[in-house]
């Protein structure tokens, strides 16, 4: 039983492992797309009030955010965050060219959306297969703007009834290309409960 505010060490470890599996699959698909070795960080997992999230991702530079909505047993959002230079470099690796001096044209935006689609899709399907829960994914939507405003928008989209949010941040890097990005997952307390129930089932409790 969880009151939504506290997690046991076991639950924390298990959720972190779920994040690990997700980012592992997502970066494997990225690695195949760009034909490079991708490194991943240890997932940073927090259960905290929604309004404290912005402080964890504060960054004044404009960033690329591609968002996918999660539906089903886990409700919330998956957000792929990339610096401009990382996004341009990934586009270049995928389609062979990109103009770093400009913003993002239609073609580049669709590459970024597809990238998020593939990474998000593999992340979420690995997670739902592992936990045997059903999670649906929306089509991606993209913005290139202040990172605080992107996070602000995601928080606004979370239901009005949500106070606490499970925030799972994983980072990936491609060293030789100076590429680094983040995948953030935001889910509500009900979804957290579904995931913890699934974890309990897995370990036979």
């Amino acid at each position: 039983m969880t009151d939504g505010r506290t997690l046991t060490d076991f639950q924390k470890d298990a959720l972190q492992e779920v994040g690990n599996i997700g980012i592992g699959h997502a970066t494997t698909s990225l690695s195949q797309m760009v034909n490079k070795r991708v490194w991943i960080s240890i997932p940073d997992m927090k259960l905290l009030p929604l309004i404290e999230v912005p402080a964890l991702v504060r960054n004044e530079d404009p960033v690329v955010g591609v968002i996918l909505q999660l539906t089903g047993d886990a409700k919330g959002f998956l957000l792929l965050l990339l610096s401009k230079s990382t996004a341009k470099m990934l586009i270049k690796l995928i389609i062979g060219e990109s103009d770093e001096t400009k913003g993002f044209d239609e073609m580049e935006v669709s590459v970024l959306k597809e990238l998020a689609n593939i990474m998000g899709g593999t992340y979420i399907s690995a997670l739902s297969n592992f936990l045997s829960i059903k999670i649906g994914l929306s089509v991606p939507s993209q913005a290139y703007d202040m990172s605080d405003a992107i996070i602000d928008q995601v928080l606004g989209l979370m239901s009005a009834d949500v106070n606490d949010v499970l925030f799972l941040k994983t980072e990936f890097t491609i060293n030789e290309e100076r590429i680094d990005g983040k995948i953030l997952i935001f889910t509500d307390a009900d979804s957290l409960k579904n995931m913890l129930d699934a974890i309990n089932k897995l370990v036979g409790q």
Binding site: I51, M146, D152, L157, D161
Partner: protein
């Protein structure tokens, strides 16, 4: 006397009410709305950063500063307690963008936030002097209590003083 006024940063679901001179800042409004309310004579002003339209629609009323209607009441209450006069209060707002769309379901929370703020201000008879809302980009605002100017910055759409 030309010392720069102190900058006070306001987070999400937060507000500050202070006496002149001060500049109230809120960073990265997406669908959220920043609301400034000022009494130019008493020289007090406040800024709130709201996340959602109405406390009435929510099952979780723990934090009234999250919602447009209840947050405006709190800011106005605080101003009145500091000796401001209701009939002198004036407001400016910015934010309420819609940066992401999902197919046909646009879920335009930004638009709903702006509507709720305007509705509440009207209900309380507080004139809305200026606004910069909507569109699809984020905003950072700096509200100068002395001048009443709200400076609205964006990543690619320049700075607008309203």
């Amino acid at each position: 006397m030309d010392k720069k006024p102190e900058k006070i940063i306001i987070g999400i679901a937060d507000y500050v009410v202070v006496h002149n001179p001060a500049v109230l800042v809120t960073i990265g409004l997406g669908s959220c709305v920043g609301i400034s309310i000022r009494d130019p004579v008493a020289r007090f002003g406040g800024l709130a950063h709201i996340l959602l339209p109405s406390i009435k629609e929510s099952n979780n009323k723990e934090n009234p500063l999250k919602f447009a209607d209840s947050a405006i009441e709190i800011v106005v209450d605080t101003l009145l307690k500091k000796g401001c006069v209701k009939s002198r209060l004036e407001a400016k707002i910015a934010g309420g963008a819609s940066m992401f769309t999902f197919g046909t379901n646009t879920m335009n929370i930004g638009e709903r936030n702006v509507e709720a703020v305007k509705q509440k201000l009207k209900e309380m008879n507080i004139p809305l002097l200026a606004s910069d809302t909507g569109a699809n980009y984020g905003r950072t605002i700096e509200f100068n209590i002395a001048s009443g100017v709200m400076s609205v910055k964006s990543a690619f759409n320049g700075i607008k003083d309203i």
